[in-house]
Amino acid sequence: MLAKRIIPCLDVKDGKTVKGVNFINFRDAGDPVALAAEYSRKGADEIVFLDITASHEKRKTLTDLARRVAAEVNIPFTIGGGVRELEDVSALLAAGADKVSLNSSALKNPNFITEIAKNFGSQVCVCAIDAKENNGKWTCYLNGGRIDTGKDLFVWAKEAENLGAGEILFTSMNHDGVKTGFANEALAKLGQIVNIPVIASGGAGSKEHFKDVFLLGHADAALAASVFHFGEIDISELKTYLRGNRIVVR
């Protein structure tokens, strides 16, 4: 049976992880490649790298990162952050990345999704959506959550699927960083609306939250950062817990 996926997310700037990482007995906390390899050993199913480098050397740092990760890590990985042109995508895939994640670039230029799907297949294209609930309405935000587009989350997710996206990575801005659980209600609705896998992001604080996101939110995968980076949740223990709750994991 297809397993539910657990995905640690690493923020990377100029080739180094940005947010502090605080593993006990782990020396290479700043190196995203060593960190990804460590997560892979602990049973992570995929890794997402979010690059927030601002320089114009960006494409080079991104492909260098992909190449180093592909050399060391034996599970699939996604690179996001500043993927704007088809050439970025082909360079990343050639360097061993499995998927690219689009956020602002997809909202600003929806046809980019279609171009990627046509050239490399839908499975390559993850459409990341940052959304926030205001008075019962979920709208999509641009530029790392700074600009409200007014666009409805569910409408945009369906559009992205029709344009050729292979997965939706939905981050709830209301839940992100609060550690009180994922946006299960919105996730369940999203799962009804789209027919591509949904990755839940934002809100992980305990093992129970992961159980809930799969059982109540019907997510296909759950992504988290700090609970893994600070050793609050160990991925192999999390998987044992989920298995004990009859959730299929690898």
Binding site: M1, L2, A3, R5, S40, D45, R67, A70, A71, N74, I75, P76, L93, A94, A95, G96, D98, F120, G121, S122, Q123, G166, E167, N195, I196, P197, D220, A221, R250
Partner: protein
């Protein structure tokens, strides 16, 4: 041991090379037929669309060439589908090494593509061994091959299908061993040391 990866317009060659390196094998990437013919093991990777890729192989006269290779050959993902008789993707005649057709997963309650980690069962030697029974491996595909006489591993998504095939010197996996963690590396090792 000389291992060759057939160079053509497939996307995952760097990942395959890296996985082989991790198990201590330096592979050569080439489309030179003399080098391929003289290799001990040949890997035929694949990510992409069947119709376009078959046309490319024909244009390069690689279609008959691959079919007539005598050493162990491992097809991966689209590589496996291209080794079958016919694919519904692009409605194209394929290499015909395996006597099976490639069909699209029927639309229904489950999402397509089949993407993620799924377990393989009824695995057969020599590509697999008992420790690989029920192991999770990484799949990404929208088309599948039914269970048949050449099936050497099964998986289930929407319906039961072939996770791996073997006929004579030809081996193939629908999943990506190069992205399937330790289990995938064990399978690659089994192929290399056939």
């Amino acid at each position: 041991m000389k291992v060759v990866i057939i160079k053509y317009n497939a996307g995952n060659i760097f990942s395959v090379t890296s996985a082989l390196k991790r198990i201590g094998v330096e592979a050569v990437i080439t489309d030179d037929k003399n080098i391929i013919s003289s290799a001990d093991k040949v890997i035929f990777p694949g990510v992409g669309e069947a119709g376009t890729t078959m046309r490319y192989l024909k244009a390069k006269n690689l279609d008959f060439f691959i079919k007539n290779l005598k050493q162990p050959v491992l097809g991966i993902c689209l590589g496996m589908q291209l080794m079958c008789k016919k694919s519904e993707e692009g409605n194209v005649e394929c290499l015909g090494i395996f006597d099976e057709d490639v069909q699209k997963f029927p639309a229904g309650s489950l999402k397509i593509p089949h993407m993620g980690w799924n377990n393989i069962t009824k695995v057969k030697e020599p590509l697999f061994n008992k420790t690989l029974e029920n192991e999770y491996v990484y799949f990404v595909h929208s088309y599948y091959v039914s269970l048949g006489t050449d099936t050497i591993a099964s998986a289930e998504y929407i319906l039961p299908f072939s996770a791996a095939l073997n006929k004579n010197n030809f081996y193939a996996t629908q999943f990506h061993p190069e992205k399937s963690g330790d289990a995938g590396e064990r399978i690659l090792k089994n192929f290399i040391y056939l």
